[in-house]
Amino acid sequence: MIEARDVTVVFKRGIRRKPLRALDGFNVTVHRGDVFGLLGPNGAGKSTAMYCFLGLIRPTQGSIRVGGLEPVPGSKSFERIAYVPEEPHYHLYLTVFEALRYYAGLYVNDIPKARLEEAIRRVGLTEFRDMRLDRCSKGMKQKLGIATCLITQPDLVFLDEPTRGLDPVIVKEFRDIILDMNRQGATFVINSHILSEVEMVCNRVAIMDHGRVVVQDDLRQLMKYDSDTYIVEFSGPDGLVLPEFMTATPSLHDLRRGALPSQHLPEFMRFVETSGIKLWSCALKRQNLEEAFFKILKGGPMG
């Protein structure tokens, strides 16, 4: 669906200042049906990459193909593409209904009014349909972007920081709509800082730093079990002295939770037998996306 090969984007910043390399040998592949997350710290080049996918920035070097074609703004290929920007730059003088009719009207001819109303209802904007966008909250504007997607039913949707600044209820609605559209075949590229959100919706992610992709993989692969560490939960008498290879912190219901290096597992089992503590659980540690993210950014790609 999207293929970026050795993309470099250099911004000139005047005569005296050094040019800025926003993307530096950026490579990424997004497959059809993916919910693909672009992650990275501020200044990693996520937004620049998205602008390149949309054709708003032309790469200094390298090539980008979206649906097999070079992205050209406003071209016919955008009939199957939707973009919901981070800061919605909508035409604020329009009402919710007029804006939806306008944006959807750029894709589809003569949209029945009932279809527009249905999309507005689906995103929960019915009571605000005649409110001008300059009086709408950011969440309402984001919903309008999604309503446009619902009408035009795109194959590929770009979401730039879609849930930033939104309340949890809207975030949940947003997530449900994304997953529903994905089930119907839409591919999503999501640029986000909120790792827990990405973890819930994305099936593949790319972690970027300094304008290049550090890791690109299945989310499950990134969040794989850490075979070096076990997480154990146990209960024992007060004043119990633990072996030096492990640490534990109090957990719920008088339990204690600790991390155990896997090479010390046999020793720990012997300790359990001899000390008389009650072992409640012992499982390989599974890292979440946040841990994987920091691990990758600190030490390069994971094995």
């Binding site: 937004s47 708003l56 406003g74 955008f78 939707a82 730059h89 329009l94 944006y103 750029l106 894709y107």
Partner: protein, 269 residues
Amino acid sequence: MKAFRANLIANLIFFRRNRLAALVALFICFIWATTLIPSLFFVSARDKFQLIKMLIEQSQWFVMFFTASLAVMTLYYNFNQRCFKMVITKPCPSEIWLLAHFAAVLLVAAVLYMFVLAGALILFKVWHIPLQWGVFYVIAEGFLQLVVILSVLSFLVTVMHPFLAIILISIFNEGTFYGLLVLLSAALHQATAPWVKFWYGAANVATYAFYLILPSYSLFEKKVPTLHSTLRMGWGDLKWLGLSFLYTVLAGALFYTLSALALRRRRHT
């Protein structure tokens, strides 16, 4: 076609809801009301014809000022608020958007010119003055001039800040360079020292080149001087209107193409 229609409607809604445009319209109406309307009631029978002429001229100027303001405001709003990014990330080429922008402004201009024409015709009828067909010529010519001005102004706004664009179009027009040419020619005639003559000559050539390059807003106005003073039109005068039309189409197409190219090169992130 669908994109053109959607953009046209969005632009018309912008005009309707823009408070600054409303303010400009109110200001124009105020000036119009305080200066022209009282004279309608106190004018002598002999001066009625002159008054109609003045009304047409003034109204045309007001329409030009108002529609040029609309054109600048629409473009500036779309660029400044980055709404344009929302348009070109949909299946709508920037050329179509630009065309819809022109069409919306010209539609408003055409409606206002119709009002001016209707007003003039009503006054001819009410004051029992024989209708002069030159009225149609003058209004059509004014509309064509407006098309050229709007296309140049739109191009300038796509490449620079609107404030600079307005200054540029107000100062650097063919009238300025014509005046400069006259001054330089007189200075060249008076000069005696060879190096002074050389510099005046060079400046004269450069000014003449600029004079030729700059678009003209009233290319054939001087060809029909009596028509403008008497509003009497002969069939032969239509030739100049036809040529004006041709020039407007060419100039409009040129500046539309330049604007479209500038839009493509502009960064919209």
